[in-house]
Amino acid sequence: MEKTRTYLGVEIKRPRTAFFELSSCEGCQLQILNKEASLFAFLDLLDIVNFREAMSNGSNDYEIAFVEGSVTRADEEERLLKIRKQAKTLVALGSCACFGGVNQLKNRFNDLEWVKKEVYGDFPIETQKVRPLSDFVTVDLSIYGCPIKKEEVEEIVTNLVLGKSIDHPRYPVCMECTANGNICLFKLGEPCLGPVTRAGCDAWCPNNRVGCWGCRGPADEANFDQLQEIMDSHNIPRQAMLDRLECFGGFSSAIKNMSE
């Protein structure tokens, strides 16, 4: 039975929604099932017709597709194209889908054969360079984060259902971190990518006294030259900074520019 709801006189439909996963830890889908206190209200907004991790007999008639994970094999590429064909709105869910995620760290080895051998020996295994969804299809909406933040997903989904525009913060994590009254981790001798990473996580890591690892990718105007200077002046090894920048894939083009 479909309830029809309205908001300010505008009819609000429950969009038929599917969740899919490519190569990932499936943590972002798990986050969807978290925040139990509001889970039922959340589920009420969407008509979930396909969610393999949680349900059998999924349907392939959906309007919104949330796709978690990155593409690492030809069959995933095919699946993704199929999903794109069906979905009106394709949402990249989490950093793997948006940037390749931790998976793309294997791309840093030029020799894919070595990578295979290191893990599987001589056993034949199929894999390709890890790439984000946007390398293959048009992504209508990105939800950043490793993991995604349920609060943010709730807001985005509500806006999606209402037809409100979805604007990610353009500014870096520092803004949220300082707003939370944290003491900057650089003062405590820890590296942090807050100055260049897109906000929206409410400074999740710095709030816990852990420097940002940049899981949400770059802010709209990320000043990498200055970041490098800040790291240098705090005696943080270049490699430690690069480790963080390359961790989730969001900064791959920035790293390319930096090493040039």
């Binding site: 300010l8 006189g9 209402l162 037809g163 409100k164 525009s165």
Partner: protein
């Protein structure tokens, strides 16, 4: 032990329109969208009526002022009042769907309740302009804030001398208020419309506003130094060209009025988003004379 007494700043009064009153900050009039007309693909004209009759009677505004319109949970934004100041509390807003709030507004049906606060800002000094020639110059959506002073002037047509409206749009389909041109002309107004990208049916002039303005200035003997006022509304790029021409023709800067646009979150001189220096577009503007504009960095 409680040594300190609690001071409540909002005692009992629920509503007030006095500018300096603390209660006026977050309070708004509830108003109903009584009709919606589509003017073009992206612009709609909304008639809005303040529900409470006392509030409606009290609501007065001056031409050029704006209101903050709020859709609960969706957004709030500044919109110029585009109707006659003599029609209390029955407002017309012409709104282009560009973003979150305005696109949602494009979907709401007649009868929807909205929040209105204001009026805010400075106005065009139409009384000062009496006994003079008027040049009303609008580009694109700029015709919207121009309509309120135009109504005021039309209602007192005899007090003004020659009135010219020069209105430019990108293409004929973007022209607003086409149904009113006839009526304006009946008031002995020179209405010149120019488009940049004509369609097959277009018969009028083609080009930029400045071309028509050039002709008009020429007709005035290249001298606007006496007895002319200009009101200029449009996108920031337009201001430079138009105002420079007017100044070159001798029109004193303090007789050129423009309406500026900025992002606004409060309309009350608090959020700082509309600031130019410490000048608030919402309090000290949106209507400025051109001298003030030149004195503000990055104003246009």
């Amino acid at each position: 032990m409680n040594r300190l007494d609690f001071v409540d700043v909002l005692p009992t009064q629920q509503f007030s329109t006095r500018k300096s009153d603390l209660t006026s900050f977050e309070y708004s009039y509830k108003a109903e969208i009584t009709s919606v007309y589509s003017l073009t693909e992206t612009e709609k004209l909304y008639q809005i009526r303040i529900i409470d009759s006392d509030q409606r009677r009290q609501f007065t505004f001056k031409p050029g002022q704006f209101v903050m319109l709020e859709l609960p949970g969706i957004g709030e934004g500044p919109f110029s009042i585009s109707s006659s100041p003599t029609r209390h509390g029955d407002l017309e807003l012409c709104i282009r769907a560009v973003g979150n709030l305005t696109k949602f507004l494009g979907r709401v049906p007649r009868g929807t309740l909205v929040g209105i606060s204001g009026p805010f800002g400075t106005s065009f000094p139409v009384e000062d302009m009496e006994n003079s020639d008027l040049l009303l110059i609008a580009g694109g959506l700029g015709v919207v804030p121009l309509r309120a002073p135009l109504f005021s002037v039309l209602e007192n047509r005899s007090r003004y001398k020659q009135i010219d409206i020069i209105y430019g749009a990108r293409n004929p389909s973007e022209l607003l208020f086409t149904y009113q041109y006839q009526m304006w002309r009946q008031f002995d107004i020179n209405l010149e419309i120019i488009v940049d990208q004509p369609d097959a049916a277009w018969q009028g002039p083609v080009g930029l506003i400045t071309e028509i303005l050039g002709e008009r200035i020429e007709a005035a003997g290249n001298d606007l130094s006496t007895n002319t006022y200009a009101i200029v509304c449009g996108p920031p790029v337009m201001f430079h060209f138009v105002c420079d021409m007017l100044i070159n023709a001798g029109l004193p800067m303090q007789r050129i009025f423009v309406s500026l646009e900025r992002r606004m979150h409060c309309g009350r001189g608090k959020c700082c988003r509309c600031n130019i220096g410490a000048t608030y577009t919402c309090l000290n503007g949106p209507v400025f004379d051109y001298w003030s504009v030149l004195n503000m960095k990055e104003a246009i």
